[in-house]
Symmetry: C2
Subunit: 219 residues, 2 copies
DNA sequence: GCCTTTCTGTTGTAAAAACAACCGACTTTT
DNA sequence: AAAAGTCGGTTGTTTTTACAACAGAAAGGC
């Protein structure tokens, strides 16, 4: 577990907290470690959770498949990001989605009760973690709203423009890579792959964008 | 302000806290009160926030209009619910949406810094509020995911089924009212009103549902 | 290298949604 | 009470998307 302290230190949850403090908090917060191979399920729809998870290695997709096999990718989790926090309380009910490892991944899990119930003396930094937790979950909230903004667009083209603009803004350059292949992007935008591919090429022919594989340039 | 203490007591944020404690916390948390007439803007897109708001009277819509005048209703806020919590931190940037009073409304606002920075002695119940805040924002998070689930449906009919099923489940009966008129429901589901109206009638003719105005029955 | 699989773009067709326009029923305003 | 406005439903047309099927390119395995 020790090996992941430098990574944990980089996360939003432990921002502003030193290596030593993290080390001592790991036991205080009831941390446990798990590894997953590419393609494995980290969490399954219907499961119940009592832990907040931090991804310390790899990439995950939050997704769900409906009766007809249509897959929706709700979001992507990168190393250093937190997940599960919205489903870690008793009232929160069962998970609505699957979480799947896109690449070999590793996760550190914390008992949520131990985080939000401040231990009076032991950890001076506990209060900071609670604040960090609030900031992190706020941020996730904003990301969800952003995604709602994309999905509420009526046409495939508008969805693409929304998504690509956001990525450009996020990566601070009109040239950027996306973490999806075509099928995954289509699943993320909730559109048909071939229709999307078609639309992308039209946009390219119209001189709006350039792309090659998962690298895009906005013109 | 005192008059709203019974209402605040009912909210998720002050769950488990007595009238007297709330009263003393109002000043401790830097609470302020505001009233809005029907149609007024409570918050505007682009604004910056440093407060968490609790709606103590009325109804609000979170919405945004694009360049072409298409309105999207992101969500609805009912009396007793909290809002703004995801945009109340310095890093959170400007608001992405408008918040508009659907009916005459009243809001109590709290300085977010004073909530998440626990005051050591004054309020014994401060820790509870922090936990409540976490629970509440978690719940909002789940609602957003649920809405994503609806918008990720491909067809108008599927969106309607998702939405109506959820409402039935929420109100614990196959017969229920919805808080939208047709245009608002269409804006909420991000579809065309006439197409939606059409689809609703088809579903009625097929014997799936019955409805009259904003009252629906699932069969 | 060769075979297999995955990924991406392309095309034609069928289905669905958006759009626009209109009507009648109700409400609200004056 | 008349007028104006809102609301929900209907219809026909146009546009867009989904679907299915295929082909070439790239990647991966043996």
């Amino acid at each position: 577990m020790k090996q992941f302290i430098p990574i944990l230190k980089q996360t939003k949850l432990f921002s502003g907290i030193g290596n030593d403090e993290i080390s001592s908090m790991l036991s205080c917060l009831g941390a446990s470690f798990r590894a997953y191979k590419k393609g494995e399920f980290v969490l399954r729809q219907g499961e119940r959770l009592s832990e907040i998870m931090v991804l310390v290695k790899g990439n995950l997709h939050i997704q769900s498949d409906d009766y007809w096999g249509n897959r929706s990718i709700l979001g992507e989790i990168c190393a250093g990001e937190m997940f599960g926090e919205a489903y870690a309380t008793p009232e929160s009910g069962a998970l609505m989605n699957d979480v799947v490892a896109v690449t070999d991944s590793a996760v550190v899990a914390f008992d949520v009760k131990r985080i939000i119930t401040t231990c009076s003396s032991a950890c001076r930094f506990h209060t900071i973690v609670v604040q960090n937790l609030f900031f992190a979950i706020s941020e996730k909230n904003r990301k969800l709203v952003q995604k709602l903004g994309i999905l509420s667009k009526r046409s495939t083209r508008e969805k693409l423009i929304s998504y690509l603009s956001e990525q450009a803004k996020k990566q601070n350059s009109p040239s950027f890579s996306i973490p999806f292949n075509r099928q995954q992007l289509a699943d993320f935008l909730s559109v048909d792959r071939s229709a999307m591919s078609n639309e992308l090429c039209k946009m390219r022919d119209e001189g709006m964008i350039r792309f090659e594989k998962n690298r895009f340039v906005l013109l």
